[in-house]
């Protein structure tokens, strides 16, 4: 396959992904039109709207080879045409209603697989892109098989249960021979290996070292042991050990290491805002950056920049210098005068080759200057390296040091933005407030380090179990918030309930003692509650009710109407 073809395929795949993201909103629109039409079957305008919505969904889905979805929508379109000729037929109403249910189901099972069938690319990429958009966790995305090898059966059992709560599939072995047999059948993502077996103090390490000698890629191994002398640690490093923990293993550190090895915590793609009055040029830059895995938004009228900034929260702004109405230099000064964007990098794009002017641009708040025409790889590397650094800096300012979750002020800002988006896109949104139960007791009884470890483990669980676009923040001491975009109240309750159950099963260790923790949660949703103030107040009230009702519960805020 030629490079051009690959590029087109990649671009098509991008378009498909962005279409799939929009499907739930489109279905909501169709459902709303249907509700109106049911009440007022004679209304020709609504009928036409409903017809057009189903027609376009069918057409677009077919274009992206989402055949099942297309067929479902097409069937509704055909039925509504019968409805047009015979509006009062109750049979048709039932039929369309049930077709709409299956449309919604089909949509929620829609997979993103490559658009075009061409040679063997489909096979090659299917595995990496075949991610169900409907599942609320990372479970299906990657190889999550872990082999646990330890001759202590009780220890194996406890650790196995614990790691499973974080979404891993675990198989445990009490002997090296059994482990070796399993290895021949299936490769795990990570091996957790005890160091001591029988009389040998380093049998586990020696075994892995020996295995790795005959492998081109070493096994990803985490060693666990009762001793932590320097010689054993050194031999673990020489056997390519990724991490080394002493028993009783701290679950949080173990899971963090597992996550790093199995890439379970994925960086979300960079958001790049492109400001250029030329549609063609901005589209070209956008496609180049999208192919490198970045999200882009194009602004072709510089006067619309402020809206785009607030909605898109870019990691970096790519700006043309010469534009109508105002220049890129003026715009960058405007951006720099806004506190929230002081550190957002601005990279200028222009055919300017006068060094003096370039330096002038940088003194006005620009970070880099690329001279057109820019080679695609140059654009990608200039943009991604700056976006990465900006993101790290921003993360320090916006996140809580202990848990890595968003801090209070950033959480609030996110709620505001997400609510605005939900209103604009006419989608639901749920807001959950979570408070650990009897946390003061944990700190008083087990000490603050144990308390910190509980906070870290709940944060880890949230990151693991939620979707990449859900937002998690640490609101205060033991209080957390979750923003679930495009999620209604009952779905949000299900999601949080799963996390609550898993968390309550998690065992925390402290010196010689182990203990469990639970949390209570209150959820309020948009559109039942329409602004940030009421939605957080109502979630807080629901949280209070959950506490009153005995804790370890999720309570939903009820709307008054």
């Amino acid at each position: 396959m030629t490079q051009d073809k690959v590029d087109v395929q990649a671009a098509l795949q991008q378009l498909k992904i962005s279409f799939v993201d929009k499907i739930p909103a489109k279905i909501t629109e169709i459902q709303q039109a249907w509700l109106t039409l049911k009440k007022d079957p004679e209304n020709a305008e609504i009928k036409q709207l409903f017809h057009r919505l189903t027609h376009t969904l069918a057409g677009t889905a077919a274009t992206f080879k989402l055949d099942e979805l297309a067929e479902c929508a097409r069937e509704i379109e055909n039925t509504i045409q019968c409805f047009s000729t015979n509006p009062c037929e109750p049979l048709t109403i039932t039929e369309i209603s049930s077709l709409l249910v299956s449309l919604e189901e089909t949509a929620s099972n829609t997979n993103i697989s490559p658009v075009s069938i061409d040679e063997k690319t489909e096979e090659d990429t299917a595995e990496s892109t075949n991610k169900s958009i409907a599942t609320a966790s990372h479970d299906t995305a990657k190889n999550n098989l872990v082999y646990l090898v330890d001759d202590d059966e009780d220890f194996n059992h406890t650790i196995k249960m614990q790691i499973k709560t974080f979404g891993y599939q675990v198989e445990s072995f009490t002997s090296l021979t059994k482990f070796n047999e399993a290895l021949k059948k299936q490769e795990p993502a990570v091996v957790i290996m005890d160091v001591m077996f029988g009389n040998s103090k380093t049998a586990g390490i020696d075994y892995i070292a020996q295995l790795n000698q005959s492998r081109t890629v070493p096994l990803q191994t985490i060693f666990i042991t009762g001793s932590h002398d320097i010689l054993t640690r050194l031999s673990a490093v020489r056997a390519n050990g990724f991490a080394y923990f002493t028993k009783p293993a701290m679950m949080t550190s173990l899971v963090t290491a597992l996550d790093k090895l199995s890439f379970k915590v994925e960086e979300s793609p960079y958001n790049i805002l492109i400001v250029d009055d030329s549609v063609t040029k901005s589209k070209h830059a956008a496609l180049t950056l999208q192919q490198a895995g970045m999200n882009t938004k194009e602004v072709n009228d510089p006067l619309l920049l402020l809206n785009a900034l607030a909605e898109f929260t870019p990691d970096l702004i790519l700006m043309d210098i010469y534009m109508p109405h105002c220049t890129g230099l003026e715009l960058s000064q405007v951006i720099r005068q806004m506190e929230s964007y002081v550190s957002t990098p601005i990279v200028f794009l222009s055919s300017e080759d006068d060094l003096g002017k370039k330096l002038g641009a940088l003194s006005l708040g620009g970070d880099d200057f690329l001279t057109k025409p820019v080679k695609p790889w140059h654009l990608v590397s200039a943009v991604s390296s700056r976006a990465l650094r900006a993101r790290l800096v921003r993360r320090l300012a916006e996140t809580d040091g202990l848990t890595g979750l968003l801090n209070h002020s950033k959480s609030k800002a996110c709620l505001k933005n997400e609510l605005a988006r939900a209103k604009r896109e006419n989608t639901p949104l749920s807001f959950a407030m979570i408070d650990l139960d009897f946390f003061k007791h944990v700190n008083d009884h087990y000490g603050h380090p144990a308390g910190d470890s509980v906070l870290k483990s709940i944060a880890n669980l949230f990151k693991q179990r939620l979707r990449t676009y859900d937002i998690v923040g640490r609101y205060g001491g033991e209080e957390f918030i979750i923003i679930l975009p495009n999620t209604d109240l009952s779905t949000a309750k299900k999601i949080v309930d799963v996390i609550r159950t898993r968390f309550s099963k998690l065992v925390h260790y402290c010196e010689q003692e182990d203990f469990r923790c639970t949390f209570s949660c209150g959820i309020a949703s948009y559109p039942e509650f329409r602004n940030e103030k009421t939605i957080s107040e109502e979630a807080d009230k629901a949280l209070y009710q959950a506490k009153e009702a005995g804790r370890n519960k999720v309570v939903c805020a009820k709307s008054v109407s």
Binding site: A11, L15, F19, K22, T56, A58, T60, T63, S116
Partner: protein, 128 residues
């Protein structure tokens, strides 16, 4: 015979537009002006001066066939050929579009990898 380069394209669905632009510009190398409705196309035609019209059939704010009929009434554009794209390829409907002067009807969904060559073939046949 003149080679085809400028296409005036009308389609109301942004998602389909983007796929078509990839198919026509990136794969096919054509210069494409995209419109969101038939009405927009009847306005854009003066500046763009296309060699070919590529219209979706069902669009709000003037559908493809109506826009084509309007364009045929404009003396300076009356000879520009049109291709329609539609999901409903019933033979009587296709015949109706051909009767009103369309040179071809392409079935939706189209294949983005071959759309451009299909259009080139149609163009060559129509020029003979």
């Amino acid at each position: 015979m003149q080679a085809l380069s400028r296409i005036l394209y009308a389609e109301d669905q942004v998602d389909i537009q983007q796929v078509a632009i990839l198919a026509l510009e990136t794969v096919g190398g054509f210069t494409v002006k995209t419109c969101n409705s038939g009405l927009e196309a009847t306005v854009a035609i003066d500046d763009f001066k296309p060699q070919l019209l590529l219209f979706d059939v069902m669009m709000p704010d003037m559908d493809g066939p109506t826009a084509f009929a309007k364009i045929k009434e404009m003396p300076e554009h009356q000879n520009i050929p049109a291709i329609f794209m539609t999901a409903k390829v019933q033979s009587n409907e296709v015949q109706a579009y051909l009767d009103m002067g369309a040179i071809a009807v392409i079935a939706k969904p189209f294949d983005p990898m071959t759309l451009a060559s299909e259009i080139k073939d149609i163009w060559q046949r129509s020029q003979q």
